[in-house]
Amino acid sequence: MMLAARRRSALLAATLAACGCGAKTGLLVPDVYQPPDGPDADVMDVADVLDVPEAEVPRCRPGTFPLTERAADILLVLDRSGSMNQSLNGRGGTSKWRLLRDALAATLPRVEARVRVGALFFPEDGAESRLAACAFANIPSVDVTLASGTTPQVIGVFDNTGTGGGTPTAAALLRGYTYLVRNPDRTRARYIVLATDGAPNCNGALDPSTCVCGGPGGGGGRGCGSDANRCLDDQRAVSTITQIATNAVTAMPVFVIGLADHTDSTFATTLRRMAVAGGRPNRATGVPTYYDVQRPDELTAALTTIQNEVARCTFVAPSRPTNPDAITLTVNGAPVPRDPTRVNGWDWTDMGFGELTLFGTACPRDTATNTATATVGCD
């Protein structure tokens, strides 16, 4: 059946290439560019009227300024795969899917007071068929679009759809990222929160005879028979998160919440690597680098910690120094050092917008609102 499906896909692709339903670009790009003739030249002429006056560009201003909290958006990327229907550690009882649903229902209303929330579930609903189990196209589409007060919509997806299919974690993260960058909001910081049981798969390019089997029933053993889509796809998942969190165009932190089966170290290891790659690992001592959830209250605590970091410890400086170190910071009256390693202290997280974030102990947990001021020097 799979072979027939692949043949159909190949035939479809060939047909489309021939029919020319749209255009394809395969431009070879020279090192030196010249303006094209024709319509683009007209666009350039019109655009000259809209040139930005140099005087409007903000400059460094020396002095001491209060910092304002930056508005934030969180996109939840939530695992709906078949393995989420199992209970944690195989103990029976509440499924991971239900655990996630109940914890979000309890926590999101509090999170929403400070941040807008959207949600993307993976795989797609109705992905039970073998062909669709791993299909997850990179299109800017999510289940719940970013807005205030979206808890009912998020919980509604839990209540109206069920688990099933594979775990295309990398593809889901890419789709979520694509949605965010194609719906830009320059005034808001954007974050992705991934909640999964740590068994990414759905990579047809892996060798099923030698891979670690990460699909339902795979158990982390070697070899997935003839089904590459059940192979553990940890490398691509980690690589995708690294790209999202560190790319030079629009870097976006990824928090990782793991509903991991502690009886299988493969999945916990994958979660740890993903959390570090996302740039916002759990810094608490004595716990994994991901936000480990074994009980509903742990998920509530994880979401609260993430909310604090996102909404209460991310600020905007009204004046940005040319030298990134020509600024000193106080929070609630106490000086806070800069820490580029982002363990304990503050660091620039989007200097082009003047955004800086407090990490670790520099982000107080016991105050409702933090008061931060910055003293800026200009060269």
Partner: protein, 166 residues
């Protein structure tokens, strides 16, 4: 007509009418913008076997009043219709002045070529967003400038390039 030809014809009709499709498949499409300009794009087949909406790729041609790609901007509207480009800043360069440019969306590096003169720059499609890597001595398009990398990691990851045009 052979069986293969009949199959091709059926698929052609099905695909171009937006009917059922194989999950995971992609096909090109076109968007018509206000003012009559068009923009190419792609659509993907969802798990339910239906084609997604058309998602724009590359810069818009003929969008009246829009700034060319990689021009400095201060608002989204300056960059044309939403599908054409975003006005924003890149997070990976030192940009204390907060300069922003119009940048488009892409699937491949070739989608990101500037439409105005530039030298020493290399277009890149980074996770679906266009940017221009700039080498030492580069001339960026229009009024954008080559801003230096913000981190040592980005310096190491992009040998031969000073930063991005912004």
């Amino acid at each position: 007509m052979t069986a293969v030809r009949r199959a091709l014809a059926a698929l052609l009709l099905m695909a171009c009418r937006g009917g059922e499709c194989d999950p995971g498949a992609q096909q090109p499409c076109a968007l018509r913008l206000d003012g009559g300009a068009t923009q190419r794009g792609f659509q993907a087949c969802t798990s339910t076997g239906l084609w997604s909406a058309c998602n724009a790729v590359g810069t818009c041609s003929g969008a009246a009043g829009a700034l060319p790609a990689y021009s400095r901007c201060t608002s989204m509207a300056q960059c044309g219709p939403d599908t054409c480009a975003a006005c924003g800043h890149y997070t990976g360069v030192r940009n204390p002045e907060g300069y922003e440019v119009c940048y488009g969306y892409c699937q491949a590096d070739g989608d990101c070529a500037p439409t105005t003169p530039a030298t020493g720059v290399t277009p890149r499609c980074v996770l679906g967003q266009c940017t221009l890597l700039c080498a030492a001595g580069a001339t960026c398009p229009r009024d954008s400038r080559c801003l230096p990398w913000a981190t040592t990691e980005l310096v190491s990851a992009n040998p031969g390039f000073e930063g991005l045009c912004e």
